[in-house]
């Protein structure tokens, strides 16, 4: 269950379409990545984890300059989730392309439509960036979200290289191939994947967590 609603704590299988229209329980639309390795089961050897097999979502969108590299091998390929085998990855972005315009109804959010910072006057960068950041998700929320996950995993804070962090990182890289964490502070970005994604990544954390925001309901129901 790699994703968790930051508002009510409900968890979702990876790639769950339910997330697309906001949390069915509380309407929240911020979700936190929760590596499978952080829960009961050790990562990697459990091919039948609910998300991995339940929703292969093969519909990776076509990038404008062609296609992303690992399309096409989605179905049934969940048998061997080795770190480098990404083809079976039912990542949230791919799931987000599922054709469910009607599902997008409940979200109530304004930041998606306008996440940039409006410049009122010259301000000190740190303050400006901090406030921009908090516009999207309050430090409080981030904090709470982190703590909720911490409860279910290693209680010690992630500082540097602790045992298991590599596994977590592999897991994250596997699930979330648009940003590859090489080591703390070192990242490789797949621009095409980032561009293709519909969800908005709002916070990346070193230990394999991130908080994402799903796209707005887009007002499709108003049609």
């Amino acid at each position: 269950m790699p994703h968790q609603c930051t508002t009510c704590g409900r968890t979702f299988p990876d790639g769950s379409k339910e997330m697309l229209s906001g949390c069915p329980d509380c309407g929240g639309n911020k979700f936190q990545f929760k590596p499978a390795g952080a829960t009961e089961e050790p990562a990697g050897d459990d091919a039948g984890s609910p998300g991995a097999s339940a929703d292969p979502s093969p519909s990776t969108p076509e990038g404008p300059t062609g296609s992303t590299a690992d399309q096409g091998t989605s179905d049934g390929a969940a048998a061997d989730p080795t770190p480098d085998e990404r083809a079976a990855d039912p990542s949230p972005g791919e799931a987000a392309d599922a054709t469910r315009p009607d599902a997008a109804a409940s979200a109530d959010r304004s930041s998606e439509t306008d996440g940039t910072e409006q410049i009122a006057d010259r301000s000190d960068e740190d303050t400006a960036q901090a406030s921009a950041r908090s516009e999207v998700v309050s430090p409080d929320e981030l904090d709470r979200a982190s703590r909720e996950v911490e409860n279910t995993e290693d209680p010690s804070p992630a500082e540097g290289e602790q045992p298991g962090i590599d596994a977590l990182r592999d897991e994250l890289n596997d699930q979330f191939e648009s940003i590859r964490i090489v080591s703390p502070g070192q990242y490789e970005l797949n621009l095409m994947e980032l561009y293709d994604r519909q969800e908005y990544i709002i916070s990346l954390q070193e230990d394999g967590r991130y908080v994402i925001e799903m796209p707005d309901a887009w007002g499709i129901q108003d049609e």
Partner: protein
Amino acid sequence: MGLLTNLRDSISRVTDGLFAADEPKRIGIYGPPNAGKTTLANRIARDWTGDAVGPESHIPHETRRARRKEGVEIERNGRTVTIDIVDTPGVTTKVDYKEFLDHDMEKDDAVRRSREATEGVAEAMHWLREDVDGVIYVLDSTTDPFTQVNTMLIGIIESQDLPALILANKTDLPGADVQQIANAFPQHETIPLSALEGDNMDEVYTKIAEYFG
């Protein structure tokens, strides 16, 4: 592109039609780190509104959140063109905190800057997909324009049919090679300038009015 994207496109087209036709266009200032995007954004904003947009720095990834200045009115040939400018974080395929250590930064700060920079790239890509009506692509003309990032971004911009201006910045520097940029992207108009010195800004404004008005 997926069905949703198409749907969304048609919806925003409908919406565009419903609201005032002369809604200001939102112009994203894109390019690799350190190209001079913020310097340009500040110059445009200062010239026409008196305000600045954000801090400039010789250390890459100074801008790590998109910053926007709305309602910038540019006058050209007796006509006023209103645009919203969005200064975006420099786009790159690799962020490494070690790069910042050379700039006298503590490791903790460097790692944090690196993480924020990565989030910034994600944000910039998100905006490119969702929310800009045109692009000003800024390149440092003392550096090689044939990079994966430039090719990919220009490719995306073209695939979206966004109007785009390519600016060859830093022409005040001795190693500037505007022609190399023009050669790299022959399908687009390349305009030389020095955002720092303010050289050739007249032509830049004329082109902005022409492309985004």
